[in-house]
């Protein structure tokens, strides 16, 4: 008898709540554009915020409302943009070339010394604010790994000598690391750009030679050597115009400090996890 009573009471309670919930679901239904859910499914879901909206669902809501373009997500490639365009029923935007983050410094712990020993917060911005950081070169990488913390895609890891290494296959060009670096060493470059001047130092050549073994000394040899005229000197620093460069590699050979490099696809394998 007690068992029957228990079953009836629980069953009735469950049924009453079930009916109440069913009625409430109808009564309190919130109208939402079904396309929004579809777009959320298409987006990467990392909620990195590189689009400027609060997370992937925020971007999806803005795309549906017409406030954001269908290719508003800088992380996912053209394929996703065209899928979103078909969900929205509009023409896909023209594809732009994929970019990747690159670290414009090679002054690791062997090649560039320290001015003092820093023992504060383990963040680049914190170190940079203490007398301009411990690194001998005031333009060089501080090696505290703020960029690796900023990356939501695991594409940057600290290498063995205190320099971050970008895994270009994983990089989504969201730009979080670019913002995280207080020295502007990380920049987004076209993924097809093989030759880069991996230095940001605007100091005169003689000073660079004293502080870093692999910095750009602004000698101008590459400017003369480049058959395309794609390299210019700006503030003691060689700058390659990506649009004109055809990656012939002559400047890489001629550079006396080896700060111009040809992309080495084997580099990411050397990354070790230290954070």
């Amino acid at each position: 008898m007690g068992v029957v009573q228990a079953v009836v009471v629980l069953g009735l309670t469950g049924a009453v709540f079930g009916i109440v919930l069913a009625v409430a679901a109808k009564k309190f239904q919130v109208e939402q554009d079904p396309r929004q859910d579809e777009i959320v499914q298409l987006l990467p879901g990392a909620n990195c915020g590189a689009c400027g909206f609060p997370g992937c669902s925020g971007l999806a809501a803005s795309i549906v409302a017409g406030d954001a373009p269908v290719n508003g997500c800088p992380v996912s490639g053209g394929k996703v943009a065209s899928k979103i365009a078909s969900v929205m029923g509009v023409e896909p935007a023209p594809q732009t070339e994929r970019k990747v983050a690159r670290v414009f410094c090679q002054g690791d712990s062997d090649k560039c010394g320290l001015r003092f020993v820093y023992d504060g917060l383990a963040q680049c911005r914190a170190q940079n604010s203490v007398a301009g950081g411990a690194k001998a070169c005031t333009y060089g990488c501080l090696g505290m790994g703020s960029c690796t913390d900023a990356c939501k895609f695991g594409a940057i890891q600290m290498g063995p000598n205190g320099l971050p290494i970008v895994d270009e296959a994983k990089c989504t060009s969201c730009g979080m690391c670019v913002d995280a670096c207080p020295r502007g060493i990380i920049q987004l470059v076209p993924a097809s750009q093989d030759v880069t001047v991996l230095c940001r130092s605007k100091i005169r050549g003689a000073e660079v030679r004293k502080t870093c073994k692999i910095g750009c000394i602004g000698c101008g040899i590459c400017v003369k050597a480049c058959p395309k005229g794609a390299i210019t000197l700006e503030d003691n620093l060689a700058v390659i115009n990506c649009a004109e460069c055809d990656s012939c590699g002559i400047c890489v050979e001629k550079c006396p400090t080896k700060c111009i490099t040809m992309r080495d696809d084997t580099v990411p394998d050397k990354a070790v996890h230290v954070s």
């Binding site: 629980l10 309670t13 469950g14 709540f17 109440v20 309190f28």
Partner: protein, 199 residues
């Protein structure tokens, strides 16, 4: 009045749900990386625990006790809390989108949280009146809020500290939680009944 104060401060400090009773540990560890989200979770828990205490009190005293079915407490309370939270979520989503933005993501997380179930069962075992049960629910949740906010603040600070490699992340968080729990044991010596004149 004295007894209500004893229940309230007892729930917040002496019998803190997380640090003394060890209920609701999963949100305590899981949603305590940022003070902001911890605060959102706390408000949701206070809301749900207060509401659940009241509704289950009626369910227990109006339905279970007259029928002599007290042994159905646990399963019945789970049913009621889960349905209630769902209902509240729907109502909030419709009636107040800003509140839903702030609370919405936390509500489903606490549908079957052990702290919520725990407070309702404690209300029964202490045979509290309706008002006492409501106060106990809010007090338990306030204790939860106090613990998770303190913990989140410590964890935010810890992110900037140099922590030995092997202790980074959850290990140091669990050690911190243990230390906080020991610190809260200090409150166990309080004689609240004497303090508020209820003997």
């Amino acid at each position: 009045m004295g007894k209500l104060l004893v229940i309230f401060f007892g729930g917040v400090l002496l019998n803190n749900f997380i640090l003394s009773r060890f209920l609701g540990i999963c949100p305590f560890i899981g949603i305590s990386q940022r003070v902001e989200t911890a605060a959102g979770m706390s408000i949701a828990v206070i809301f749900v625990m207060g509401l659940a205490s009241v509704v289950t009190w009626f369910f227990h005293n109006m339905i279970l006790v007259p029928l002599g079915l007290e042994y159905l407490q646990t399963i019945g309370f789970i049913l009621i809390i889960a349905a209630l939270v769902q209902l509240v979520e729907m109502v909030i989503q419709k009636s107040s989108p800003p509140l839903y933005q702030a609370l919405g993501i936390y509500l489903p997380l606490i549908t079957t949280n052990c702290a919520v179930l725990g407070v309702t069962l404690l209300n029964v075992s202490e045979s509290y009146s309706l008002l006492e049960a409501a106060i106990n629910g809010v007090a338990g949740a306030s204790g939860f809020a106090l613990a998770i906010l303190l913990f989140a603040a410590i964890r935010e600070r810890m992110e900037l500290s140099e922590i030995p490699e092997s202790l980074k992340g959850f290990p140091i968080a669990l050690i911190t939680a243990g230390l906080m729990s020991m610190a809260f044991l200090g409150f166990a010596g309080f004689r609240l009944e004497a303090l508020f004149g209820v003997m």
